[in-house]
Symmetry: C2
Subunit: 205 residues, 2 copies
């Protein structure tokens, strides 16, 4: 499975080009021609590195998920408790402020929308969402356990937080000057904390 | 401004056709030809009723907002307190269960995604979001007031709930079998109630 470093760099360029094209034009208009043009490569070279457009998309979703994961790990380094870890996760996922992140968020919103009507995108998107839901449920269950709460609600709570984050991406990308500044990460953490504190004690039943 | 009933019915057919085409194919592929075909009308007739595709879209967004508003008013009829009203609002917006609603939600997700990259869609979408944010802030402020809480956080809370709802639409349309059943309306109400109870007393400062 090991590839030459040169191949990896070329593949990364192509994936990044799909991200740019999708952020501005959507998946449909992201033809192999358009991706090649954005990457400054010959279309034939794209076919050499990827079998199909879907294969580039799968790699893009993987790379976006990896980006989130790396950000999480960076921030999580200082975490000393399950609550710190949860905080780091939400910060990593929602607290995206700089210019590069705006493109990533817009590309993610496009992927989510295309997933509604295109089976090949839906498949990849679904898998990424299922993974996030699993990870977030686990982080929440650990917080609940630490506070001696029942963990039965952790999956519903994870779903609500995931919805809040997806919606925050959508609104950040599609509106400007309407949503309050910095509400998203703060609200997600607040909702998590209030819900954890409101959960029944594990010993109470 | 009054139109003949026949004209209104024709316009409604065209708007409904755009909704169907968008839910399955997105805004870009919803050409005047495709909308006319879906409505079973001659393309020329569309041009008679609407100046442009954007004009149909504006009417669609208005009609989707009206649909939500009507559902809200129906449920709100029995409301006896600000909390009942808030509950009715969230039920009307998130508790969409039947088949017709799935198309409405998918069309709305498409509109949101197209708003990221098309100025003409963005303008219409932004206005709808700003209206919802205003309405929801007001409903929340009333709940806070009734419980003698400060209302300063009502806009941030409204933003968080709006994000949660937009995200729930997105996830309901783009995934199946992953999200827990019925988490969305319940979570939104729960988050609102916990946040209201956690707000500082108005007399405490």
């Amino acid at each position: 499975m090991s590839r030459k470093p040169n191949t990896e760099a070329r593949r990364a360029e192509i994936i990044r080009a799909l991200q740019s094209v999708m952020a501005t034009h959507g998946y449909e208009k992201a033809t192999i021609q358009a991706i090649a043009k954005e990457a400054g490569l010959a279309p034939g070279l794209l076919h050499y590195h990827f079998k199909s457009k879907q294969e580039i998309l799968v790699s893009l979703v993987t790379s976006l998920a990896d980006y989130g994961q790396r950000r999480f790990e960076q921030i999580a380094g200082k975490a000393e408790s399950p609550m710190d870890l949860l905080n780091a996760y939400l910060e990593a996922r929602v607290g995206l402020g700089d210019g590069a992140a705006a493109e990533i968020v817009a590309a993610w919103v496009m992927i989510g929308a295309e997933a509604v009507r295109q089976a090949e995108v839906r498949e990849v998107y679904q898998r990424a969402i299922a993974t996030e839901l699993e990870l977030l449920s686990e982080l929440l269950a650990n917080c609940l356990r630490e506070r001696q709460r029942v963990t039965t609600g952790s999956r519903d709570l994870a779903a609500a937080l995931l919805a809040m984050m997806e919606g925050a991406y959508q609104l950040a990308s599609a509106t400007s000057g309407i949503m309050p500044v910095g509400y998203a990460a703060q609200s997600a953490l607040r909702h998590a904390m209030l819900s954890i504190d409101a959960a029944p004690l594990a010993t109470a039943s």
